[in-house]
């Protein structure tokens, strides 16, 4: 089976032909596997947002090709709208796109644009709301009465209700408190697990990427700098730091230990793994430090 998204030599130039034209994306090629959870990281201004708006055809590549499900996306530009439904895109601070009188109507906006029959729309609204942890009684309230975190989940439900094959989220947890972050991201993970939907998560939070992603793509100044499994990416923590990215605090701790000459592995990026590594090292030393 073809990869769900295949990108070939994608280049995008802002303001082409103008004196201040900039190469936002520079000859990028990679594939997104069906059903994977891909993390995308990179410093601000590296082209992450430009890249993801290519996935659903909001931006058209200056050169190069995008294949969705093996089909060339721009083969017929008039058909571009169908890819909006195949690749669902949740922008940063998506709560600012809500406009309907009720939560129900707002979530239904996408499915209605798809031209689905009413009963199918209703079914999808309820299903999407459930995935996003919105109770049924909330559906008939105005989205503007809700809390920030709830609004955000309504907006995400609005994209999930289109049942896209790929769900792309740009900083879905930005600005939320720890509980809100945890809630949104674990709901995304549950949705990913239960439906097998491919998920692309763009985030500045290395802790979140480390916790949820199977593979990680690192963008740097419009170029693809790394693409590998999460463990392999965080094993190159020193390089990430040089790119101007932060690494999870636990990775920092292990980098610090190595700097002090302690022999620990480099690919530590979750707290549980860190504990196991330390316990193993202690056991090898004969358990001298045990209480």
């Amino acid at each position: 089976m073809a990869p769900i998204i295949k990108i070939e030599h994608l280049t995008y130039i802002y303001g082409e032909g103008m004196p201040d034209a900039t190469r936002a994306l520079d000859d990028i090629s990679f594939e997104i596997e069906r059903g994977e959870f891909l993390g995308v990281i990179g410093p601000t201004g590296c082209g992450k947002s430009t890249l993801i708006t290519h996935f659903n055809g909001l931006n058209r590549p200056t050169s190069g090709r995008l294949l969705i499900d093996g089909e060339d996306m721009w083969a017929d530009p008039r058909q571009i709208r169908k890819y909006r439904f195949k690749v669902g895109l949740v922008f940063q601070y998506p709560e600012y796109q809500l406009f309907e009188e009720t939560v129900r109507k707002d979530i239904a906006f996408g499915p209605r644009n798809m031209g689905l029959p009413e009963e199918e729309i209703e079914k999808r609204v309820i299903e999407a709301a459930r995935f996003c942890g919105l109770e049924e009684e909330m559906l008939d309230r105005s989205p503007f009465e809700l809390s920030g975190g709830q609004k955000r989940r309504v907006a995400i439900a609005g994209v999930i209700a289109m049942r896209p094959e790929v769900l792309v989220l740009d900083e879905p947890a930005a600005g939320l408190d720890p509980e809100g972050r945890e809630m949104i991201l674990s709901q995304v993970r549950r949705y990913h697990k239960e439906t097998g939907t491919t998920v692309v998560l763009v985030s500045h939070s290395m802790e979140d990427i480390a916790k949820y992603a199977d593979r990680v793509l690192v963008l740097q100044a419009g170029k693809l700098a790394m693409l590998d499994t999460t463990a392999n990416i965080f094993a190159r923590a020193q390089e990430l730091v040089e790119y101007g990215l932060s690494v999870p605090q636990v990775t920092k701790i292990f980098l610090g230990l190595r700097q002090m000459g302690v022999d620990v592995p480099v690919d530590v990026y979750t707290v549980k793994y860190a504990r196991d590594v330390i316990l193993k090292a202690l056991a090898e030393r004969g358990g001298a430090a045990h209480a």
């Binding site: 998506p94 600012y96 796109q97 906006f109």
Partner: protein
């Protein structure tokens, strides 16, 4: 896309004209417009064009930019030119079927076109060489005496400043909201006119809500920084009229009087 819209047409530079006191520039521009209307004869117009050529040369602004600012009003110029060309009675130069072109008509067209071009080019020079914020400042200071008549001069200037600050932000925001709704399958740039207007609702509602939220937060931030209207306010940048300003203003004033008075001269010649 929306991002390409620029606000104002400031063309930064460091010429004598750029450095001139904005109040002087603003008043001179008004004087120039008055002179143009008083001196609508070949001598006056020739002097007006000459003045502009010199001024553009000194300021280092490429004259072709004037073409750009003329483009939107070109249809109006052409339309009035047509009316004048065909419907002004007088000595015919050319006559065919019902169309008659007269010397008087041709003269009117010339005067009219040159006058409009001078008007646009003259006012554009002001906006090219003066940033909108400085211009707002100059306007506030010139109008300050009217504040005594309860004209809300400071408030108007503050509104202009805030508008200048927030327009780029709101344009960016519109772009973002449009993308977000398109990502949910909204069709914003196709279909019948009525459909398109309806399709704007999902963009306009979030945009208004966001604008109100921003206004609310901005008001609070301004209060935190002790804002309480124009009373007792001082400014970081003081405007000073220097020797250059007086000299240039004097030269221009003399020239504008000549342009304005040229009708008398033209009358004597004719």
């Amino acid at each position: 896309m929306l991002k390409d819209i620029t606000i104002g047409q400031h063309f930064p530079g460091d010429s004598v004209i750029h450095r001139m006191d904005p109040r002087a520039k603003l008043l001179l521009t008004i004087a120039y417009i008055v002179a143009l209307f008083l001196g609508s004869n070949p001598i006056g117009l020739a002097l007006s064009v000459l003045f502009l050529l010199v001024a553009y040369r000194v300021s280092g602004i490429p004259v072709r930019l004037v073409g750009k600012s003329l483009r939107p009003i070109l249809p109006i110029i052409l339309f009035t030119a047509m009316l004048n060309l065909f419907f002004v009675p007088g000595d015919p130069i050319f006559s065919w079927w019902i169309i008659t072109i007269t010397w008087q008509g041709l003269y009117n067209v010339m005067v009219l076109s040159v006058r409009i071009v001078c008007l646009i080019a003259g006012t554009s020079l002001l906006t090219y060489t003066t940033s909108p914020i400085v211009l707002t400042d100059a306007l506030e200071r010139l109008l300050r005496p009217f504040a005594k008549l309860h004209l809300p001069v400071h408030e108007l200037a503050m509104m202009m400043t805030i508008a200048l600050r927030f327009i780029p932000l709101l344009i960016e925001e519109t772009d973002k909201i449009m993308s977000a709704q398109k990502a949910r399958g909204a069709e914003l740039d196709s279909g019948k006119l009525t459909d398109r207007i309806r399709a704007l609702i999902p963009v306009l509602i979030p945009l208004f809500i966001s604008a109100f939220r921003r206004a609310d937060e901005l008001a609070m931030a301004m209060e935190c920084r002790c804002y309480h209207g124009g009373e007792g306010r001082t400014r970081l940048h003081q405007l000073h009229l220097g020797a250059n300003d007086y000299l240039l203003t004097a030269i221009c004033a003399v020239l504008f009087v000549v342009i304005g008075g040229s009708d008398l001269l033209w009358g004597m010649l004719g």
